[in-house]
Amino acid sequence: MKTGGDWTRPRLMFGYQHNDNRLTCYSLHPPKHCKCMHSTKTKLVMRATIFLIIVASLKVSAGTYAQTVTYSGKNVPLKEAFAAIKKQTGFVLLYKGNILKDTRPVTIAASNQPLETFLKEILKDQPLDYTIQNQTIFIFQKKTVAPPVVTTAPDRQPAAEEPAKEVTGTITNTNGLPLSGASIKLRGTSTGTASDAEGKFSILVTPGQILVISYIGYQDRAIKIGKETSLNIQLLVKETALNEVVINKGYYSTSQRMNTGSVSKVTSEDIGQEPIMNALQALQGRVTGLQITQSSGLPGSNYTVQIRGQNSLRNLGPDAGNYPLYVVDGVPYISLALNGAPGPYLASNSPYAPPGMGLSPLNSINPADIESIEVLKDADATSIYGSRGANGVILITTKKGKVGKMTIDGKVYRGAQKVPRKIDLLNTQQYLAMRHEALKNSGATPLASDYDINGAWDSTRYTDWQKVLIGGTAHITDANLNIYGGTSNVQYRFGGGYHRETTVFPGDYADQRASTQFSLNASSPNQRFKTSVTINYSFEKNNMIFSDLTAMALGLPPDAPALYDSTGGINWQKNTFINAPNVNPLQRTQRPYQNHTNNLIGNAVFSYDFGAGFVLKTNFGYSTTATKELTKRYATYFPPSQQATFPPQSNFGNGSSNTWIVEPQLSWHRQMGKGNLNILVGSTFQRQESEQTLINASGFLSQALMDDIQAATQSSINTAYNGFTYKYNAGFGRMSYEWDRKYLLNLTARRDGSSRFGPDRQFANFASAGLGWIFSEESFVQKALPFLSFGKLRGSYGSTGNDHIPNYGFLNTYAVTSNYVGNPGLIPFQLYNPDFGWEVNKKLEGALELGFLKDRLMLTASYYHNRSSNQLVGYVLPPTTGFTSITANLPALVQNTGVEIELHSTNINTKALTWNSTFTLTIPRTKLVSYPNLANSSYAYTYEVGKPLNISRVYHYAGLDSTKGLYTVQDVDKNGFITYLDQHSTFKGQYFYGGLQNSLRYKGFQLDVLFQFVKQHGSGFVENSNPGGVCNQPVSVLGRWQQPGDNKSVQAFGNSYDALVGYFYYTASDAAVVDASYIRLKNLSLTYQLPQSWMKKAKIQSTSIFLQGQNLLTFTGYKGLDPESQGLSLPPLRTITAGLQFIL
């Protein structure tokens, strides 16, 4: 097999070169030719050294040398005894110059003693050891071969009859690649070492002891040491030991096996399979309990992220209370973009205004730099995050350096993106017929402004606007290069990445990101003091078209004029193609937008191990995001006839957010018999400052000067400023106790204070308890259920809070508003409420984890039951209050329950072929349990007690009326009017969702296929206007009502008030809430690793080529563009990419 080749060739070579190699270590006078060996083949020399020792010791034990020595002396220097050996036996003694310095004088009386006995005698009390090779005796210091052994408590080693000996070995995977940084430990002791860059190690072992070799991602191996002194150890990939995966729970880590909470983990392997800009996308379909919705296909746009449902009634706008907490390398990260949603000022001039809700803040983190993402869900996992944990926590850990030689890892891919689906729209003939029929039905004649049918436009034209406006091909380019390596004391990783995505729109628009990451870990020689520094920096540059063209692509009349006039300019068609919605789409090209976002996340951790289990650690974090937006509206945005009226305008938006955090913490670990105790206490100091400024300037002298505020006419500058400071302070603790690896207890607590609350309301306590029982460790279970390889029952209960509310909400304040005749104005800023307090979220979870067939089949089934009370919301007020809302606690109780199932199976696991499957399923349920006096509150028509939160109030659709053929809805209370009282609630959300991933590996090929499925109800494809209006329609409208007696589903074409009202009712009825379920081939990744033998020649560790696809197929009955994004925005694009990865 190819795995052997890697090893056997050097071995042969060493066989005859060992005489040279040994000298590099031991000779006082190396022969001349050694130098060239050394300089050219250092690597080989190091390997050879170990082989030399192995070979030598084998020969010693074979007892080939029967020379004898006769020598007597009292307190003679060791050197003299050596001289006697040389003289009497002819053997050469080799040793490093100064190793005899600390030796004791020798007292011996030997007569014809065998050489070895004599050597043992004189070296008995010396710090020296020996080996014999041919006629050479090597003398060396004990325990000094190869890397030093880390011995924290050498005195505790069990006394053994035989003396300890040096055992060396090499650790490789089944492909023969060395595994560096593997842990080698003596069972029952704290003695251990780690493998070096070549996978080699050396350790002092007493025969009979057991070596345990472990490496992340591989199965542990235990080897009982007998007489052997050299080992060649292969580790098997831990595909059946999922439960040993290390789980990061933020302030501490545990293994999947010992975990008492609910945490889902996605690793870099999965993320790397997707050609994406934003790592959030890789979580779709892979994580249970995590609902991620993409509402726009514009590159870089945001996602709606919810962990285990909607907890807070506050679900809209910049202060929405259902975002999870993001923590990147221990630093809290903004969950909302700085453009778009959070800043009321910037939103209005950004193409990423809702529905995209701004650019996703996670764009700033290069997915290629992410090692793992952990999603913390239950109380056990989130209570330690206290007030910020109610909506779950997403921990992002970036890649760190590894012990090993310097490795260069590069990856490049390119690809194309398209809108996957077109809607079949009316052609010109059909459209014009519809318009004329509508006018006829409404008893009207074309108006002066009905250009589509009054002759102003050429009625023989036909343009497929979907093809012209959103039918293009977007390009995606991604490149990453990283360098990493290190020794056991220092590891480093650094590198950079570049990503670029264009759009399907006509024109040159792109979202680009350049990023760098730097990570350095260092530790003191005794490993007690450790420090790590991680810096992620990225720059995003975005010049998106000012607004999405999708709605226009679907709505523009098919006979609308050409985009360009005969001179190549924007065709305004004699001022008839100028009024929205029927305006030349190229108008938007005259409103360029640019967004520059700089993002820095820096983190430094210092820890010191005091011994006796105490470790003091402090985490210092800083993150800063700065967004600079500029929207320019050129004079040419308007037709020449209007240019005098609308001067050129620039909107400058600047936003920044800085967070620093300091978290000192002390942990204590103690093994007590079968018990294992961990205690952690710490505290958090956090401060965030955010600032946004908008400057509107107009009246520029020249288009070329529109980046320069100075060039604007002075008097036209309006400014807006918005800033806040958020401070947060907490103390937290954790205690966990494991007994006999069977019974698990994990307690966490946090006391939080937040500046978002008024005096006396700032602090609150949160706590949780998690319990686990690994019943498969019980002997009666093992006897009764032998097929069960793992079984754990776990449960947790606890509280978390939610402080996602606006800052300063408790203050009664006036703010500065625009000037009035040059005088500054003040206006009341908000309705204030000094008394609001924390929203409390109580979470209960029970789960069963099972492993069958030696863990080849792993099942996790969990049930959660979360209740949020004391709801803190922007309570919607009627306009008569002068405001739209007030921050207040509501006596409402929201419940989220659900079942999550995760199934991993190893279907085939042979050396040639492996096939793994992962299936996830989440069935979420949300319910408004109670709301005293709901009927008299502002939410009377938004929510309903006993119903889910994601409901929509709709009319009951009652078909077409028989005389006019217009949509009607049911007058439920039969009072003759259609009012809100005739509305009922209908569910609009997800019933269940999940994914199925299959991974196949055959020799060098790896195929990964991820299907995502969602069962849901959503907004039906709502046309831009009523059938018959100045707006194109799907061909399905041709099935309209035409005359009494028709049994049709589409109302008569018409523009009358009645037709508009009918259409309005229809869109607000249950007929517009449709099944938007889908199954999507979310991701397909095919990788081929080029044969190792080719790589050897090129001196490359490995090279693979890959094809990846995203959103390749969607199976749905949904009529609109896409069942996920719904509505009229650009749907998620279909992506196909090809690339190359190499490791040097």
Partner: protein, 463 residues
């Protein structure tokens, strides 16, 4: 030994938790850099003046009903009547097919209530004010009451019965019912009478510019309110008080809308750019109307010799040869220099208020009569006196003269047709599907939805 060690650590932990977690000072923030507490506002004349400026700044903003932009009453209310011809087919105000969830109707409702909240907040803040001069206390109270009256005047004329709110307590204001119009008018009159007695007689507060309400501004609105409520004698008295004041004089047609013209009683002052009206109604020669133009059948009523037709209306043709008419009272579309202010109250209207009040009281012709007032206005427009002699003829003459004089300003025509009961007669030929209930706009859905007490209180005809 070990025990002792553990104890030390135990105490260290206790101290650590105690030290860190009760760090109350750490989580106290300073005031936001952009805000003042309410108490701070009522501690000085300049700050109180700032709070008043804040109201006017909101009232004149382009997104307010008073801003003169596409969301304004001038624009949309003009569409509702026979002032304007809309360029858009789907125009709910033009076709009088407004739905309760209409965005503009919400603006018409919420911006006056915003101003009312601010006025109420000032009135409440003044009660506990410290360090504010007596003069400012009087002025602020007078202006706040004027603003409140002004806002209610427009609310009742757009919506009919509206909730009457005179406090800032949001709990109270979130559960209000509709107050009968007559009662709202009573409050308007009370507030305006108070304002009259509190406010000064000059324009000193606006540094000589006619941009802040004074006693005469309150008087002019009071005259209008009396007219609208049929209190003819008081309407005449109040209008006479304004007309007789030496501050005001009819200016020549051409300069009537220039800033601080002698015609101006109150205008929204502007420093950054000229009026929104000039932008919005801006004519595009050679093009069909961008947004609006004047209703040709209404323009046809003008006497060809009327100077207002020549000076206040711009006539243009599009590429098909169709003629369009644009309001041209405000002409300056440029940003600088600012030459025009958006006029809220002007002297011309006062003459016509008095003419109507006199007609209703039977003072029809001769000196000091309705006809004399109408002729004053006509003379300025270069027209001969009227020949009407009967009350009926004079009422029609006033109606027409009000259109010629006040078209495309603050929906005067719309309000006139409604209050005189002439809307159905004049609008139904022009507007297919016209029904009488359309004289009132629907109460915005968000009010109905979020104020449980308003359930079922929608204006008739809307659902």
């Amino acid at each position: 030994m070990k025990l002792k060690n553990n104890n030390t650590i135990y105490w260290a932990l206790i101290l650590m938790i105690a030290g860190f977690s009760s760090c109350k000072k750490f989580v106290q923030t300073d005031l936001p850099k952009t805000q003042l507490t309410q108490a701070t506002v009522f501690t000085g004349d300049a700050l109180v003046n700032g709070a008043l400026n804040g109201i006017y700044s909101n009232m004149e903003s382009y997104s307010s009903y008073g801003g003169g932009d596409v969301t304004s009453l001038t624009y949309l209310g003009g569409e509702s009547s026979d002032d304007f011809l809309s360029a858009s087919t789907n125009d709910a105000f033009y076709s009088n097919t407004i739905l309760p969830n209409d965005y503009h109707v919400l603006t018409f409702w919420s911006t006056p209530y915003q101003d009312i909240y601010r006025a109420n907040a000032i009135l409440e803040g003044l009660l506990t004010a410290k360090g504010v001069s007596t003069a400012m206390l009087k002025q602020a109270e007078g202006e706040a009451k004027f603003v409140r009256a002004f806002s209610y005047f427009y609310l009742v004329n757009m919506f009919g019965d509206v909730p009457l709110i005179t406090v800032t307590d949001y709990k109270q204001n979130a559960a209000v019912v509709r107050t009968p119009q007559a009662q709202v008018y009573k409050q308007i009159v009370t507030d305006l009478l108070d304002a009259q007695s509190l406010l000064g007689t000059t324009y000193a507060t606006g540094n000589g510019e006619r941009v802040r309400p004074n006693k005469w501004v309150a008087t002019a609105l009071l005259a209008r309110v009396y007219l609208y409520t049929g209190d003819w004698a008081n309407a005449e008295t109040q209008a006479t008080a304004v007309i007789g004041n030496s501050l005001y004089k009819l200016s020549p047609i051409a300069g009537a809308f220039l800033k601080n013209s002698t015609e101006t009683i109150w205008a929204f002052g502007r420093t950054s750019g000229n009026t929104n009206e000039a932008y919005v109604f801006g004519a595009t020669p050679g093009a069909s109307p961008f947004l609006l133009s004047l209703q040709p059948s209404s323009v046809a009523r003008f006497d060809p010799a009327d100077q207002r037709l020549a000076k206040w209306i711009l006539t243009t043709q599009d590429f098909t040869g169709t003629t369009y008419y644009y309001p041209y009272k405000y002409q300056n579309q440029r940003l600088t220099p600012v030459t025009e202010y958006s006029i809220v109250l002007r002297l011309g209207e006062q003459y016509l208020i008095r003419a109507e009040a006199r007609t209703q009281q039977g003072t029809l012709t001769g000196a000091g009569s309705a006809a004399a007032d109408i002729d004053t206005i006509r003379a300025r427009a270069g027209l001969p006196g009227i020949t009407a002699t009967t009350k009926g003829e004079l009422l029609l003459a006033v109606e027409n003269e009000r259109y010629f004089e006040l078209f495309s300003e603050w929906a005067h025509r719309w309000f006139d047709l409604k209050r005189t009961g002439r809307a159905t007669a004049l609008l139904s030929p022009l507007k297919p599907g016209w029904q009488s209930f359309k004289q009132l706009y629907p109460i915005p859905q968000s009010q109905i939805d979020n104020d449980p007490a308003m359930a079922g209180q929608q204006n008739p005809g809307y659902h």
